[in-house]
């Protein structure tokens, strides 16, 4: 698809559950071939948005177009071209790994012969061929996740929706999933994913939005977001003593922003080494100093706050 028309277009999209507004008038446009991320703390409205895009949750307001169609009226036609990896695995516990893929392909009207071939290919793709005839239950969390991703690809979708694809996985499994998602992107598949892992967003997403309280609070590429919402570098200082507060008050002038945590002080500065020199010049001697680049995590925490939301 070479048209400028976005594959997914939301304008003022709203989702309400009774009196609670989960998604509060968001505007989103996802273009063909890009990897688009929804970032945000739990309860930010990411999953509700994903379910609306997946055509399994009717919007309460606003406008939503997917592949140029209306999700309420053209649900089956849109879903035929989507692959969905939901937040919680919905695998069929009464079927084997292979049967899960074949049965799912049948829901899309794919011929059994084709389904069998594709199941074998996909099991190979997610490295589950050896477990093909195992039941789903004894699989590890990472294996189930990979199977769910394989299942989402069984209809050769144009858009793949992944709701927290690597939550709860060990590092090996996460890296395998990332590799596979990257491969899909290379093949031109449009990826839409939600995550609260910043490294995941930085690794995979061309563009992302940060959601908080049902609204979009920032939008852009990871690099642009870091430039706009954080400084180039961050200095982490730890001082000896009960509280970091008295030290922090002396650092007010140093950076663009000073943040006090229970165990350390964060200085947001353009040049970390220069800032460390200035700290020493003030006669302060932290027991621990770390200079690092700003990351998405700094942006995320700055925009959505450090307080627990659940």
């Amino acid at each position: 698809m070479t048209t400028a028309q976005p594959l997914i277009q939301a304008r003022g999209l709203v989702k309400r559950f009774g009196g609670f507004t989960a998604v509060d008038a968001i505007d989103v446009a996802v273009r063909a071939g890009e990897a688009f991320g929804f970032l945000g703390p739990n309860g930010a409205g990411k999953s509700s948005t994903m379910r609306m895009i997946g055509c399994v949750s009717p919007p309460s307001g606003g406008e939503l177009r997917i592949l140029g169609m209306d999700p309420v009226r053209d649900g089956p036609a849109i879903r035929a071209r989507l692959g969905v990896c939901p937040q919680l695995d919905t695998l069929d516990p009464e079927l084997t790994v292979r049967e899960n893929l074949i049965t799912y392909a049948r829901y899309f009207g794919i011929a059994r012969r084709v389904a069998r071939l594709r199941a074998a290919e996909l099991l190979d793709f997610v490295q589950l061929s050896e477990r093909a005839d195992s039941k789903v239950e004894p699989l590890s969390g990472g294996m189930k996740r990979r199977l769910t991703i394989a299942r989402a690809l069984v209809n050769e979708p144009e858009i793949v929706l992944l709701d927290e694809p690597t939550t709860g996985l060990d590092p090996q499994a996460r890296h395998l999933v990332w590799e596979r998602l990257f491969q899909l992107k290379q093949q031109g598949v449009t990826l839409v994913l939600t995550t609260h892992y910043m490294d995941e967003a930085e690794q995979l997403c061309d563009r992302l939005v940060v959601m908080d309280g049902g609204r979009i609070v920032a939008e852009g590429s990871p690099r642009v977001l870091i430039e706009q919402h954080s400084t180039r570098e961050v200095v982490e200082l730890r001082f000896a003593g009960e509280s970091q507060e008295p030290f922090a008050s002396k650092l007010d002038q140093l950076g663009e922003r000073v943040e006090v945590l229970p165990d350390r002080v964060l200085l947001y500065v353009p040049d970390g080494d220069a800032a460390v020199a200035e700290v020493t010049a003030l006669g302060l001697h932290p027991i621990n100093v770390l200079v690092r680049r700003s990351g998405l995590e700094d942006v995320f925490l700055h925009l959505t706050g450090r307080t627990l939301i659940d």
Partner: protein, 269 residues
Amino acid sequence: MVALVLPRLMDVSAASRRSASVAERNVSALKSIYWLLLVSGFVEPLLYLFSIGVGVGALVGDLTLPGGAVVSYAAFVAPAMLASSAMTGSFAETTFNFFGKMKYMKLYDGVIATPVQPFEIALGELTWAMIRGSAYSGAFLVVMVVMDLTTAARAAVAFPAAVLVGFTFGAIGMTIATFMRSWQDFDVLASAQFVLFLFSGTFIPAQAYPTLLRWLVEVTPLYRAVHLIRGITVGSSGWTWLLDIGYLLVVLAIGLFIASRRMSRLLYR
């Protein structure tokens, strides 16, 4: 005209194809332990037929039906056992299993992400329930013919009637299942089912009840099912079987409508 009708027809064929894929899933899930369960559904009505139909029947003797026909007690009870086993068979699939798939396995949460829609899931599960129920009915009819409780020709007519009964109760069961909150609710359902089983003109003719009670009994779906099948297997005259079929079809349509509406509401959150 073609432009108007063709998409509709394609809709129907796509919908039935998708329903079939839901039924097909259950064939893939058939495992050895399940077969045992399937067999039990066939044995149960046989036990009732032998213990009550034949056993108690020896004490009761022959019965004179409202139409004037005189039949053995076993021949009177057998069609009722057929109807209630069709009910039990499709209930097992559409209440207990359906509820488990929807609420605990979260199976349909995965299915609705595909082009398959709630109505098609309902129809697919119902078709599967009907296949299971029909297997019971067919086997039971063979037993009835062998025991000389009906003729082969009548049994051949009774079979599609039993399939309709299975379909209708499947739709009722599925509707009930969408209102269930937990497994405890199934105890209530089982009791209700047993009351229906005892008092739907199964073991004694409904004419034996006081007028008010008789009316109450005669509007229950199982009574209509028993009445329909008994009419066929013992061969009573009249046109009331039309009423039975109409009744069962209407209940089927209403059940399917409510069940798919409820499923849409539960799944498309």
